[in-house]
Symmetry: C2
Subunit: 340 residues, 2 copies
Amino acid sequence: MKKITIKDVAREAGVSVTLVSFVMNAKRGKDGRLDCPVNPETADRVLKVAKELGYRRNAAAASLRSGRSNTVAVITTDISNKYFAGISRHIEDRCHQYGYTVLFGSSDEKPEKLDNIMDTVLAYNIDGVIVAPVPGGEDAIRKAVDQNVPVVLLDRDIESFTEVGKVLLDDVAAGRMATDLLLSKGFRKIEMISYTLGISSLKEREEGYRESMTKAGLTQDISAHYIPYGAARETITTLIKDAVKRGVEALFLPTYTISASVLAAIRDLKLDIPKDLAIVAFDESDVYNLYTTTVAHIVQPLRSLGVHAVDLLHNMIENKPCDTKIVLKPELIPGGSVEK
Amino acid sequence: MKKITIKDVAREAGVSVTLVSFVMNAKRGKDGRLDCPVNPETADRVLKVAKELGYRRNAAAASLRSGRSNTVAVITTDISNKYFAGISRHIEDRCHQYGYTVLFGSSDEKPEKLDNIMDTVLAYNIDGVIVAPVPGGEDAIRKAVDQNVPVVLLDRDIESFTEVGKVLLDDVAAGRMATDLLLSKGFRKIEMISYTLGISSLKEREEGYRESMTKAGLTQDISAHYIPYGAARETITTLIKDAVKRGVEALFLPTYTISASVLAAIRDLKLDIPKDLAIVAFDESDVYNLYTTTVAHIVQPLRSLGVHAVDLLHNMIENKPCDTKIVLKPELIPGGSVEK
DNA sequence: TTGAAAGCGATACCAA
DNA sequence: TTGGTATCGCTTTCAA
């Protein structure tokens, strides 16, 4: 099947390519009329011919000439990660509403990969990019900023960037909520397990934990343990066994992957939740409902995060004035894991 | 920052744009030399200048002129679905190895959305498309075929398409494996719960179940229940309560979402696995390890499915002869849910 | 090994 | 309301 161009449509419809271009780009107003300076009858004829011929616009040509592409890029660390997969879906849906096509990429927490993906998507003349930064990925992100491509940071902040949009969770509040819940249930020796990754969200969840502990006068009990991203099962088992031995009463687990690993370790050790150890986990998962006892956890408003990220990016692309930093509140879901 | 084009690089390096184009497209041979008819010293100078100037190729221009785009599209039903999220990640990785950029889209099991996304990606001059078909989505897929864009069907087959590639799970074998496991453990009254969606993979998993039951002489016990995709919790609870009352001993659950819902229902009803009901679930999940008893389940080789899909598509794009239908074997993971 | 020039398919500008 | 045409940045012939 031969490729149909705007020229073919113009010839068949007996009009100029300009007209065809106008018609093909016109959006329908609420009255069903096309918002372009074209005779409605002519427009209808063009539309009809285009359909008959099976015309499909060549995005490359349009993008080359106009400098825009109606495409945005979304770079997370791992599209197969529950959290980012969920957000990505909402981002995709919202982008379609605006008529944007979406390019997805996974940086795998590696700055070089982020840089690589950034080069690729910038070559596509993207109109904007939503990115979950990785430690050391500042240069890659600056490339977009330098090209005047609007950037929205998602999930993690980099404070040195001020000219970009930000959509974040109130991570300090999340840490406080989790800790306060445990305190309110009478637990005192509360510790947390986190990743060695130096990302802002984890640091702030820890900050919230520290704040609440301090306010409760338990400064001497504050203790955070760090495991590498993707740590071995034994590392965690050992950590838990040791914690119980030391008389730790409760744990705050600030990511889903940490939560799942710790729950597995607790199961292996045949410990009882919450008798031996109370738990507040993070993010959503069927696991929390199906575990022997339901697990209290902090949930992030995935839909809202995704929608706000796209809305903000869209405003930046269109140069509309707007808040460039959006911080959303987490929610606490109760569960048997904190009931003494 | 002004946009740097091939012309700027040419001027600064004192060569023609042709040379620059050659150099920028040359791949390094294994000896580290560029495989293009250019003086190595000239090439080095061009490379150096390009880097200094911060040159980045304009993908739209390249695609417009060459008719290719080094881009492939991947259309699943839902990128936030565990199964497709996992596969997508492997597809993405493999595509990067070949130098392809990837466009992702979710059809949401809706033919109109599939059609919509197909129109969008075809406008991008994509080199090929990997798609999980939805019932009624034949026309959308035919659009790609008609444009001579290579197509690989993933996860679900449509038999009427013969000129496309296919990468599938041996779903009949999966159904047999699950059923045979239950039979070997002494269960007789085995039923299954499936979706009303008319997709090939579910039909074949059921076929495998029926085959095994028939071979075991239990034809009269064969019984499959159908629930709509996204069914209400109560629907499932009622179904399970009724099944136990009827003396059903075991269930084969052919997708993760069905498995999770059924496990939740069983938990709500305070039934015991496997005493009241034995279970064989589908796909991978932390849930299966963390449930009160571990859950036996069938796993699909996600990595292999993704890699094969990309390899096959690549061969089709390059017109290399190859098998166009690849069927992979599932694996059985044992668990306490079938131990009487 | 190098370069000049045509042209991919759309948009944007200007003129009618 | 319409149409003519330059142009976006690159690849691809073809010739030197």
